[in-house]
Symmetry: C2
């Protein structure tokens, strides 16, 4: 594992805010100011292929990266805001009903966040 891969992994493991490649690039520059974007993408892909980090893809927004530690996500349907939640490990329950062995699962719960709910209400008022 190269110094870049290692540091990128550390950044992701330490974070709770679902960083984008760009944000990881910015964070990495604090330690290695001359690093380029391609290095970040190369390593993110390598780490993901190796199953060492999570990747969260969402509608419209750039991919975000996350630590492995078991948890699920609450995602705002409007703005993409992500919040960590833990709904327990469903692996057993799910695997029982499938023939193929599953490596992992992603559970994304859609909701409308506070900010977007307010915005909706205001728009509703205006239109009336």
């Amino acid at each position: 594992m190269t110094k870049y891969a290692k540091k990128i992994r550390e950044i992701i493991e330490a974070s709770r805010d679902h960083k984008t490649a760009e944000q990881i690039f910015e964070a990495l520059k604090k330690t290695y100011p001359t690093v380029v974007r391609a290095t970040v993408y190369n390593n993110l892909n390598k780490l993901w292929d190796a199953g060492m980090i999570r990747k969260i893809s969402s509608e419209g927004l750039p991919d975000r990266y996350d630590r492995l530690e078991r948890h699920d996500h609450l995602m705002c349907r409007k703005c993409g805001r992500l919040i960590d939640v833990d709904l327990g490990d469903l692996t057993q329950q799910l695997q029982q009903r499938l023939r193929v062995p599953i490596l992992s699962y992603d559970l994304k719960l859609m909701y409308i966040c506070e900010a977007c709910r307010k915005k909706e209400q205001e728009e509703g008022r205006e239109e009336s």
Copy 2:
């Protein structure tokens, strides 16, 4: 609802193969040969905002669209191949453990498909 939105919705509801915007564009051209891509994107976004279709975002691959009917997905971690599975409605079980009301949830089970498993084995042999 315009004729385009209506037809796009029909295409998606009738499909079981998780079409991309491009594939929907191609399918739509059979009925409306002069339609342009932007119209497809406009309508897909509108239908999705209205909660009338599902959107499946995955790592690297373009977004795919899906009918609403309750089901989950088995996704190959290597190539993105999608298979429909039904693991039952977990809404109750999940909602119980959350304070905010959830609109829906996406459950994506990661596995390695047959084709990718074979490819892995062959690569393993070569390297040895």
